[in-house]
């Protein structure tokens, strides 16, 4: 493609220039955005690509024969291929389903693969660190169909306990596992888990919402059967996500939602579903959002995912060091101690200050962190907390951001002392 060769290190100062919110200030404080795990910012080039599409090329896709519509369709389908290539999809034009977000992707698997293959008494294995997006769809299906849910436990270092994996997946039909925890940062050994799951005859639904934006991803190496992720966490827009699925599996699935685009024919007494991937895309898809996602993955490719990852390891290691040096026992940091075993997400709790209050005070200093259960209530119960504070990084964050976080934490401690 047209991208220059990927850099090996990130020039954060240059990267940052493309993010308007981060170069601004609020009430005299620079904006220290440390909530990219919830949603990233988007660079000017992504916004420009979307605007340019709107101004020169917009029409509905897969419908018109006039050139504007044809061009819109081609750019939309090119975005599909680009999104697929970004995660190493072997057949990107057929294996990438555009959804509205990662959550819908997992629900799509539950509604199609799940409804076809899961019945009373069948077991689904999840981990205790799953985001609600990879829990609630299975709880709903379990309630409807009488499934058994089993849980891979999390140890005190925030790692999955895999000693018993053989037994846990024995007889199971599906394993749902996040590639990276949005609370602990933990990077899970997907390839190992997939191998065990496949040996037991189970399919693997991987939640890539956190990993795909931050870690080089190759679905073949991960070994999973489905992978869901969201554009808005990877420098792309809201309103679009991706479900990647192995071609043989997708090809066999019934449709999900019904409407235009997903059919070949409709009669009063029935319909003929379309080929994959359109079979799963009912109605007008997120077109300009696909254009934005395409620009985002091109940008990430240009930065180089290896460089993005190296940068985040550096930043995470730095943050772990600064926080424990400056706050010692006052702060409990959840998740693996080694930055290499985790992505750029750090959850912590303060001995005396509730995360909600912490976040409120930090905000007065322009520091944006998340406080709450992070849509991972089963994990919160496992950790014995109702909420944590969480700082998370994007390719635009640097050491100065971490220092401002630590300074603001010190102010909060002073205020609540």
């Amino acid at each position: 493609m047209s991208s220059p060769p990927a850099a090996t290190t990130l020039d954060v100062a240059t990267v940052r220039k493309e993010f308007a919110l981060l170069t601004g200030e609020r009430d005299g404080h620079p904006v220290t955005y440390l909530d990219s795990a919830a949603s990233s910012q988007r660079p000017a080039r992504v916004l420009d690509a979307m605007r340019s599409y709107e101004e020169t090329t917009h029409a509905n896709v897969h419908r018109g024969v006039y050139r504007v519509a044809e061009e819109a369709t081609r750019r939309f389908e090119a975005a599909r291929v680009a999104a697929g290539r970004f995660v190493g999809a072997p057949v990107p034009d057929r294996e990438v389903v555009f959804t509205k977000n990662a959550t819908e992707g997992i629900n799509l698997v539950a509604h199609t693969w799940g409804k076809r293959n899961l019945g009373r008494g069948d077991a689904v294995v999840l981990t205790e660190m799953e985001h609600h997006a990879n829990v609630v769809p299975w709880l709903m299906l379990a309630e409807e169909r009488g499934l058994e849910l089993r849980w891979i436990p999390v140890d005190d270092d925030g790692l999955l306990v895999l000693d018993d994996l053989d037994r846990l997946v024995d007889g199971a039909k599906l394993v749902g596992v996040t590639a990276m925890s949005n609370v602990l940062g933990t990077l899970n050994p997907l390839a190992e888990i997939s191998a065990v799951a496949h040996a037991a005859g189970a399919v693997v639904v991987a939640d890539g919402a956190q990993s795909v934006p931050h870690v080089p991803t190759d679905v073949t190496a991960l070994g999973c059967d489905f992978l869901a992720f969201s554009a808005h966490k990877m420098l792309g827009p809201t309103g679009i996500g991706v479900l990647w699925g192995r071609e043989e599996l997708l090809a066999d699935l019934p449709p999900f939602l019904g409407g235009g685009e997903m059919i070949l024919d409709v009669r009063k007494d029935g319909f003929t579903p379309n080929d994959i991937p359109w079979r799963f895309e009912a109605g007008t898809p997120p077109i300009v959002e696909a254009i934005g996602l395409h620009a985002a993955v091109d940008y990430l490719d240009e930065l180089g995912m290896a460089a993005v990852r190296a940068h985040e390891i550096d930043l995470t290691a730095y943050a772990l060091g600064v926080l424990s040096d400056r706050f010692g026992d006052e702060l409990t940091i959840h998740g693996p101690a080694d930055a290499v075993r985790r992505g750029g997400v750090i959850s912590f709790t303060h001995r005396d200050i509730h995360p909600h209050d912490l976040s409120q005070v930090l905000d007065q200093y322009g520091v944006c962190i998340r406080a709450g259960h992070h849509c991972a209530k089963p994990l919160m119960r496992r950790l014995g907390v109702t909420a944590t504070a969480r700082a998370s990084f994007g390719p635009y964050n640097d050491h100065a951001d971490v220092d401002r976080l630590a300074d603001a934490l010190a102010e909060a401690a002073r205020f609540f002392a």
Partner: protein
């Protein structure tokens, strides 16, 4: 910009550090009701004992931020031993104090706030006593749900026991 002092008044921090009426009542005879704030994970458990027309006892469990906890503590002190009717009135007054901002304010699409005073109902803040300390919360709209969590939970509890 509203300062932290508007939010974290002394009384609030005091009730946060030393919550009143902490615990649970044996249920039955007491009634137990849970409230969640899905935004931040705060949980409140209100145990209430209604005898005749009177809320004779109340205890607060659960955990959360300084605002939700202090609001619950202040509430428990204010309603314990009061006639149910008075409690309902107080719930109304407290929620009115918070309500200007509890519903999303209408805005035009530039994000400019439409004058909130249009919707404001006059609130008898004096009637709230110590509770008035929570008034500063309305300047931090996202925390209003923290402040009202225990009150909504109590109201639900009263409904469930068919009181008042």
């Amino acid at each position: 910009m509203a300062g932290l002092e508007d939010l974290y008044r002394e009384i609030i921090l005091d009730h946060y550090r030393s919550p009143r009426n902490r615990g649970e009542l044996p249920s039955p005879p007491a009634h137990r009701v849970e409230g969640f704030n899905p935004l931040c994970g705060d949980e409140i458990v209100v145990s209430l004992q209604v005898e005749g027309d009177v809320l004779t006892d109340i205890k607060i469990g659960g955990s959360g931020c300084s605002i939700s906890q202090s609001s619950a503590s202040l509430m428990s002190a204010a309603v314990k031993g009061k006639p149910v009717e008075e409690v309902r009135e107080l719930i109304g007054t407290f929620k009115a104090m918070m309500s200007i901002h509890e519903a999303t304010l209408p805005r035009d699409s530039d994000g400019d706030e439409v004058d909130p005073s249009l919707d404001a109902t006059p609130v008898d803040v004096d009637a709230l006593g110590e509770l008035a300390a929570l008034q500063g919360v309305v300047k931090f709209p996202v925390r209003i749900k923290c402040a009202t969590l225990s009150w909504n939970t109590l109201a639900q509890g009263l409904d469930e026991v068919g009181a008042g």
